[in-house]
């Protein structure tokens, strides 16, 4: 997979100077990042480095105090008028979130709804799709993630790997412009990781724009168009996977990779 920085392609997610504090803790210290259409950008780094927080800021699940986020060219979550910020209404914020799919470490499926219920909930109640059209699309997506026979099951009846694949299908049901993956295999038993990664590889091959926070170095190496190493709330290094894993420039990157790859 070629990994030149895609300067020639339209950016889908653009982040400029993002800062985030939790109390006195400065967890994002000025993040600049751009993800082009169809790119798969993998973020690696030690826990507590701010990777997940960055992802959550992109979806406004955390509110960054400073910086700009653009989704498909549109300034998201707040406007800037003469240097002052004006927060968007909840409705505007929800409308942007609906364009960006997110998959979580702990799946967060809705336990009171069947698999199909999970898939059609937002398309019907947020996008205003008809139930029949949403079900139709839901069946296609379940087939895509290999769970065509599970539409009437409840999440609790599924394995972790199956639940996570449903969660991916649920996010895709919104026809998102980009997908955010927040350590989606970290809570899985080792034997269930592969089935989820397979679905993600397939999604990448279909051209989905993806931002993937992961501890799966092989996935980052093989599927990533670009890999970002984060530490202490900063992007330390970003490059093509072959270079990050083959010849990292920064000492911190080398140290990190030694600890995770030696295991």
């Amino acid at each position: 997979m070629s990994a030149a920085l895609p300067a020639n392609r339209r950016p889908m997610i653009e982040i400029e100077g993002l800062h985030k504090h939790f109390g006195a803790q400065h967890v994002l210290k000025g993040i600049d990042l751009s993800v082009a259409v169809g790119e798969v950008v993998c973020i690696i780094g030690p826990s507590g480095s701010g990777k997940s927080t960055l992802l959550r800021c992109i979806n406004h699940l955390e509110v960054a105090e400073q910086g700009r986020i653009r989704i498909d060219g549109q300034l998201a979550y707040r406007d800037e008028v003469g240097g002052a910020f004006r927060a968007h209404s909840n409705r505007e914020i929800s409308a942007v979130r609906a364009q960006v799919g997110m998959v979580f470490q702990h799946f967060n499926l809705f336990p009171h709804l069947t698999v199909m219920g999970n898939l059609i909930e937002a398309p019907v109640h947020v996008l205003g799709k008809s139930k029949e059209a949403a079900r139709q699309r839901g069946r296609e997506l379940l087939a895509q993630v290999g769970l065509a026979d599970k539409e009437d099951a409840y999440p609790e009846e599924l394995s972790g790997g199956q639940q996570q694949r449903v969660a991916i299908a649920r996010a895709l049901a919104m026809e998102p412009k980009a997908m955010l993956f927040d350590e989606v295999t970290s809570a899985l038993d080792p034997e269930l990781v592969a089935e989820v990664l397979t679905v993600m590889r397939d999604l990448a091959a279909r051209g989905m724009t993806m931002l993937v926070v992961t501890h799966e170095m092989n996935f980052a190496r093989q599927v990533g168009s670009r890999v970002i190493f984060m530490d202490h709330g900063m992007i330390v290094e970003e490059d093509a996977p072959a270079r990050i894993f083959g010849a990292p420039r920064e000492q911190r990157t080398r140290d990190f990779l030694r600890t995770v790859l030696d295991r």
Binding site: L61, R97, N108, F110, E121, A122, A153, E156
Partner: protein, 224 residues
């Protein structure tokens, strides 16, 4: 000492049963009203609008800090002095609904807060507004959690309606008092009343136990 008089019991069974039906009717009306009102109170209590939260807090504390009996007589005897005249049934319904809603709203609140952050995150990430997520994702799960607790409160309510005898609602205790004042068969009449209460509460308690098992067993596909 009097003994249980079967003839008296049979002779008075009709009016007592009519009283029991009034007790049940009163209970059902208050259940329906307080299920709805308490939900509004609970949502007010977690509102982002601070004055609404304070109002809810004050209401809940006022209700919890005073006896139900006082609340009943207050609605029935004191409100008329400021021009609000209610018949006894309406007064009983209002007092019981206000009282139970205060407690039940706290039950709802506990249920809502028991739903994890992940559910809110997932709903938000799918573009659902807070109100939509509350209605479609949080409340259905929260209500399921609190069903057994609500059941126990409503069994308590069924018995508490006896207090409405003081505002002369013709429920079963008040009926027995009137009958006993005529024939002095306290032992028989009040024993029948006790059996009637038990005959309703006991199966209701079993039903709550069953609901508790069902709601704790998780969400499963119905086997057909």
């Amino acid at each position: 000492m009097e003994i249980f008089n079967l003839e008296i019991a049979i002779a008075n069974f009709g009016p007592l049963l009519a009283g029991l039906l009034m007790t049940v009717e009163l209970t059902l009306v208050v259940i329906v009203l307080s299920l709805v009102f308490a939900l509004l109170v609970a949502l007010g209590g977690i509102s982002r609008f601070a004055p609404l939260r304070w109002l809810v807090k004050a209401y809940i504390e006022a209700i919890r800090g005073t006896p139900l009996l006082l609340q009943l007589v207050y609605v029935y005897y004191v409100l008329p002095e400021i021009g609000i005249r209610l018949n006894s049934f309406t007064a009983g319904v209002i007092a019981l609904t206000l009282n139970y809603s205060a407690y039940i709203s706290e039950v709802y609140r506990g249920g809502i807060q028991a739903i994890g952050r992940g559910q809110h995150d997932a709903a938000a990430a799918l573009g659902m507004t807070g109100a939509l997520a509350m209605r479609r994702i949080i409340l259905p799960q929260a209500i399921r959690i609190v069903i057994p607790t609500l059941g126990n409160y409503f069994i308590g309510l069924f018995k508490d309606t006896a207090l409405c005898s003081v505002v002369s609602i013709q429920e079963v205790v008040f009926t027995a008092q009137i009958l006993a004042a005529r024939n002095f068969q306290y032992f028989t009449l009040y024993t029948v009343v006790g059996i009637m209460y038990f005959a309703v509460s006991f199966p209701a308690a079993r039903l709550v136990g069953y609901l508790e098992r069902v709601t704790k067993s998780g969400y499963r596909r119905r086997r057909s």
